[in-house]
């Protein structure tokens, strides 16, 4: 338990720093800013007690907000992603009583990982840009940014999940 908590804390700090100090300076094509920090939500161990998960993801998003001067936009988007991650996972795995203690996203087939990451990332980005613009007239810009930034985020996250896969040859 303590080991898991330590890994979690380490991942928390590392991802905040990578996102705010490195990735926030990077713009593909001048405007696409990937949000790798969502990896934290995807790698969070799934428990039946979800209150910790919600609170930790709120704090995580809020740390990103402090560094990038965005008020509470990232916090809101991250909490929503955390809240909807379990129902969406159930939907994709197509069963109600998954053994979550043993579940690891890494061990799932690639197509499931991609579906899961895609749905949640687009949800996250839509809330993120929706709150940032906060104007129905800008819905075109919001959808455009959600799609373009989301695509880059998904590619980055899927790659990082696949690259950190343990004994990947056994799964094939």
């Amino acid at each position: 338990m303590t080991r898991d908590t330590l890994i979690l804390a380490f991942r928390f700090v590392l991802l905040v720093l990578i996102q705010t100090l490195v990735l926030n300076h990077i713009y593909f094509f001048g405007f696409i800013n990937p949000n790798l920090y969502l990896l934290f939500i995807f790698l969070y161990p799934i428990e039946t007690k979800r209150s910790n998960f919600l609170i930790v993801s709120f704090l995580f998003g809020f740390c990103i907000d402090i560094f990038s001067n965005t008020g509470g936009v990232n916090a809101a988007a991250t909490v929503a992603t955390a809240y909807f991650s379990l129902p969406i996972l159930n939907l994709i795995l197509n069963k109600q009583d998954t053994d979550f203690k043993l579940f690891k996203l890494n061990n799932e087939p690639v197509i499931r990982i991609v579906t899961y990451v895609t749905i949640l990332t687009f949800l996250h980005h839509f809330i993120l840009f929706g709150l940032e613009y906060f104007n129905l007239k800008e819905i075109g810009t919001i959808l455009f940014k959600t799609f373009t930034s989301g695509l880059f985020t998904i590619v980055l996250i899927v790659l990082s999940i696949l690259l950190t896969r343990k004994n990947k040859f056994m799964n094939q």
């Binding site: 100090l21 926030n24 209150s51 709120f58 402090i66 965005t70 809101a76 929503a80 906060f134």
Partner: protein
């Protein structure tokens, strides 16, 4: 009573989710209101320090451009100040209106709807709330929060910043805002219909503002629609490239207190 307890028990995660969302949206709305500004921003010791460290690494990439900009500015200043007065001692100190404090931008997010910059100078260096920020090419923004060693700046690319601007050739005033589309272009509002504007006209800061010296360059009009009653969609191409700002100056208007005092007495 039991009903309520049952309800809370059943929907506790949803309620917690709602509570956290409300807090987050509260912070967001608070950050949108100018001056009543947020408690939490990057002008604190921890995030400011880390951002400064990381900028000093990325800085090497833009050194060449920064040097070139400095050299250009030096050349311009030299041509303004003739060589005689450069060496003479008797510059009248009373005629100096503005003091400039140089600072480095350590956080910039020009693609966001509401761009806020973080500077590596704060209260201890003389930076104060409501100081104008410029670089040699033009207006950058206005300081909206300071801590001891860092400050945040509401940039021109922010829905809350409304900068008083005028046409250089005559004195028609307008307000400069940003619609969030392209960081190279800003929009000029409230220009009187009788003003004669043309594509290619230069926009400078208006003298009404005490934040910026009169005639600080802003940009060039690139397109506009004229109807019988008003001008619409005046697009101004900004002189400064907001995606690439290294060093900036904070303007300390020495007469500001006096001007504000006078205006209050009216």
């Amino acid at each position: 009573m039991q009903q309520i307890a049952y309800f809370i028990e059943k929907y506790k995660y949803f309620l917690l989710f709602l509570l956290l969302e409300i807090i987050a949206i509260g912070f967001t709305i608070q950050s949108h209101s100018y001056h009543k500004s947020q408690f939490f921003n990057s002008a604190n010791a921890i995030s400011g320090g880390l951002l400064e460290k990381s900028t000093s690494i990325f800085e090497y990439g833009v050194l060449k451009k920064d040097n070139q900009r400095l050299a250009e500015e030096n050349a311009r200043l030299r041509s303004l100040v003739s060589s005689d007065s450069l060496h003479s001692e008797n510059i009248d100190s009373l005629s100096i209106e503005n003091k400039y404090i140089s600072a480095k931008v350590i956080q910039n997010s020009y693609t966001k709807r509401n761009n806020i910059l973080t500077l590596n100078k704060g209260r201890l260096d003389g930076v104060a709330i409501d100081m104008g920020i410029v670089n040699n090419t033009g207006i950058i923004g206005v300081v909206n929060k300071v801590s001891n060693n860092y400050a945040t700046v509401l940039s021109v690319l922010n829905s809350n910043s409304k900068i008083n601007a005028r046409l250089k050739k005559n004195n028609y005033f307008g307000t400069l805002t940003w619609n969030g589309q392209n960081y190279r272009y800003s929009q000029l509002l409230d220009i009187q219909r009788q003003a004669d504007i043309r594509i290619g006209d230069t926009i400078v800061s208006g003298g009404k503002s005490i934040l910026f010296p009169d005639n600080t360059p802003i940009g060039i009009i690139r397109s506009f629609d004229a109807t019988n009653k008003s001008y619409d969609n005046i697009e101004v191409e900004l002189f400064m490239d907001m995606s690439n700002i290294g060093y900036v100056y904070a303007i300390q208007n020495i007469d500001k207190e006096e001007i504000l005092e006078l205006q209050k007495n009216d």
